[in-house]
């Protein structure tokens, strides 16, 4: 009898200790935990290749599109960024133009641009993180800043997001030259994927909203949104990214992500 009570008592004590601990976890810690769980759900994908169509719309609804291929090589070390290679197919006049990036976490990325008309490889400055990526509503940093340690975090609340339940987490860029003071991300509690991101500009005003839709699960469980829609609330312009099928385990290596390769992609 006594023993049972003691066991029961210690169980209650332990439980309240756990409860206390999780209460003691600051919103910052909880925010990081949620972001880390989301980021790490993607660990180990190795490499991937995907073709996509980028549809740009201006405020009058006029459309123009670009097609491109993105190859990515995962660098397992969380303190180093991934490598990526973007190759343009259309518009025809920029066919063969390619952008090679070696992402860093807090420092500027190393980037090279290949201009096929002159067959020229140019090392370019990557401080322009907030600048538009090829005329779209996506900034360079929106493409590259998915590394966990590029931000600090703060948990806000849980709430419904469509059919799912989401954790709402604020994140603040740690890297230099960001165009944002903060972002608010809705991360679902089932598959831990980012569903919506609000971007706040340097003045702290809401500038853009990104919706990530049509998530598909590939291979061992890597989730990829097949459609990304970015709306700029100030300019009323928008950009949609419509992805084709991702290919994982393509066998890409470090030597596929060197500047000497840029003239050999076509």
């Amino acid at each position: 009898m006594n023993r049972i009570r003691i066991v029961k008592a210690s169980f209650v004590a332990a439980w309240s200790l756990i409860a206390t601990l999780s209460v003691a976890a600051t919103p910052e810690e909880k925010g990081f935990e949620i972001a880390a769980r989301s980021d790490r759900s993607d660990r180990g994908f190795g490499d991937s290749e995907v073709s996509l169509t980028m549809v740009l719309r201006n405020s009058a609804g006029q459309e123009s599109s670009r097609t491109l291929t993105i190859a990515t090589l995962e660098i397992p070390d969380e303190s180093v960024g991934d490598k990526s290679l973007v190759l343009f197919q259309t518009p025809q006049d920029i066919q063969g133009t390619a952008l090679l990036s070696h992402a860093k976490i807090l420092k500027s990325d190393d980037q090279w641009l290949y201009l096929p008309a002159l067959k020229r490889v140019k090392r370019i400055s990557s401080t322009n993180k907030s600048g538009p990526f090829v005329g779209s509503e996506f900034a360079f940093e929106d493409f590259t800043a998915i590394e966990l340690n590029k931000f600090t975090y703060k948990y806000l609340r849980d709430e419904a997001c469509g059919a799912l339940q989401c954790s709402v987490v604020e994140r603040y860029p740690r890297y230099e030259n960001s165009g944002y003071t903060k972002q608010i991300a809705w991360i679902d509690t089932t598959d831990f994927q980012v569903r919506t991101i609000e971007f706040y500009d340097r003045r702290g005003d809401l500038l853009k909203v990104l919706e990530l839709e049509d998530y598909r699960k590939y291979g061992k469980g890597y989730w990829r949104a097949q459609k990304l829609s970015m709306k700029n609330l100030k300019t009323k312009k928008s950009t949609e990214l419509i992805y084709g099928d991702y290919e994982f385990g393509v066998g890409l290596k470090d030597r596929d992500f060197v500047k000497g390769r840029l003239s050999k992609l076509r």
């Binding site: 290749e49 740009l56 201006n58 123009s64 599109s65 291929t69 190859a71 290679l85 190759l87 197919q89 259309t90 518009p91 025809q92 006049d93 920029i94 066919q95 500027s108 190393d110 002159l118 067959k119 020229r120 490889v121 140019k122 090392r123 370019i124 400055s125 401080t127 322009n128 907030s130 600048g131 538009p132 090829v134 005329g135 165009g179 030597r255 060197v258 500047k259 000497g260 390769r261 050999k264 992609l265 076509r266």
Partner: protein, 404 residues
């Protein structure tokens, strides 16, 4: 990465049929693309020399086809790119060239490329000093950025410590020069078809080049040695004084290109040491490009460029316009859907105050057309200066190019 769209099935089938025996491959793919251009040059003055066509408007048409092939395994590729221009005034500007016609095989760390190709080296904007593999297609553009296809055997080796490139160049291409009716020529035309070569082998002299390139953190570096026929000729007046004859000397050239990329700064240097004809001389061009990103809350980037050109060659060597010249320029990039951009600059000779103004702007129209504007103006060129003969050839050029 592979591009598998077949834009022109008929041509693709034809090409596969032609190359089938050599490059038989079930999943291999040809792609065909190209462009057609209509170009109008409007000169602001009458020509300076007898024999030049007095028209101030010069129209021409150009066309380029790109056939590209990639083997099923992904490690073989081929390319064939014929180019042609038809010019209403200058019969020497009406010309055709194979820009590319090669086959390449990529191994794990080594690549072999056989055939005709274009290779660009360099970092600066106002002058391309180290670029030497390809001959300049001067009738295309006086900025010397258009190049003729160069036959080569290219062996490339990529290692952790950098990229080594060996070029064996078995055939020399003559520089193209405007004909008698054309602009941008000396008082009498250059007879580009009857050149004289220092080497007894003439155009069959085999040139070689070895280049190392890599990057170390924020520094990109390239260094090479070239031995062979100079791409730049000396122009010697013929005995009857009716034309200039290009003389191509044998040279040895060491070249270095460096770029340091820090924040919005690009610091650039190109330098060569050339020995050969009668002397050894040095030349360099260096400077910076600084970019103001997203000026006044727009998407527009504004770059400021400054470069200094130095060259200590004597009068015995091929003429240069770049002895002690300062280049100042600006680059506007609108970052819009049409990829609008503008590069404008002026090169000032610090000794003679002769100035050369250059503007290049372009913008896409619709999804398949690009409009390009160029303007080039030379001022204060006095008789005796290397650029004096073209001092009446200021022009504005408008070009419409359709891509398919």
């Amino acid at each position: 990465m592979r591009v598998t769209s077949r834009r022109c099935p008929l041509l693709a089938i034809l090409l596969t049929a032609i190359t089938g025996p050599v490059l038989a491959d079930d999943d291999s793919s040809w792609t065909v693309s190209g462009n057609v251009g209509l170009q109008a040059r409007m000169f602001t003055q009458d020509p300076l020399w007898p024999g030049q066509n007095p028209d101030r408007l010069q129209l021409s048409l150009s066309g380029e086809l790109e056939f590209r092939w990639r083997g099923a395994e992904g490690n073989q590729r081929a390319s064939v790119i014929p180019f042609v221009r038809l010019d209403e005034i200058d019969d020497k500007r009406t010309h055709a060239d194979l820009r590319e016609a090669y086959w390449a095989y990529e191994g794990d760390t080594v690549e072999v490329l056989l055939g005709v190709n274009k290779v660009f080296w360099g970092v600066t904007e106002s002058l391309h000093l180290v670029d030497i593999i390809n001959q300049t297609d001067l009738v295309e553009d006086i900025d010397r950025e258009e190049k003729l296809g160069q036959p080569m055997v290219n062996l490339a080796m990529q290692r952790d410590w950098g990229l080594m490139n060996l070029f064996i160049l078995p055939y020399f291409r003559d520089r193209t020069y405007p004909g008698e009716a054309g602009r941008f020529r000396p008082p009498v035309p250059v007879d580009g078809d009857n050149a004289v070569y220092e080497s007894s082998e003439g155009q069959s002299h085999t040139d070689v080049a070895l280049r190392y390139s890599h990057y170390f953190d924020a520094v990109d570096v390239g260094v090479y040695y070239f031995s062979g026929t100079s791409r730049e000729p000396r122009l010697i007046l013929s005995s009857d004084g009716s034309r200039y004859i290009p003389h191509y000397d044998q040279i040895g050239q060491v070249g270095l290109d460096l770029q340091y990329t820090k924040d919005a700064w690009l610091w650039k240097l190109e330098s060569i040491i050339r020995s050969g004809f009668q002397e050894t001389f040095e030349a360099a061009v260096g400077g910076f490009e600084y970019t103001f990103y997203g000026v006044s809350e727009s998407a527009t980037d504004v770059g400021v460029l400054m470069e200094y050109q130095y060259d200590n060659r004597s009068m015995l060597e091929p003429l240069t316009f770049s002895e002690n010249d300062l280049f100042v320029g600006t680059r506007l990039t609108l970052n819009d859907i049409q990829d609008s951009s503008l590069l404008a600059g002026v090169v000032v000779d610090t000794k003679t105050s002769e100035t050369y103004f250059n503007l290049e702007a372009e913008r896409r129209v619709g999804s398949n057309m690009v409009v390009q504007l160029r303007a080039r103006v030379l001022t204060d060129a006095s008789p005796g200066e290397p650029s004096y003969p073209i001092s009446n050839d200021d022009y504005v050029q408008l070009q419409f190019s359709g891509y398919f």
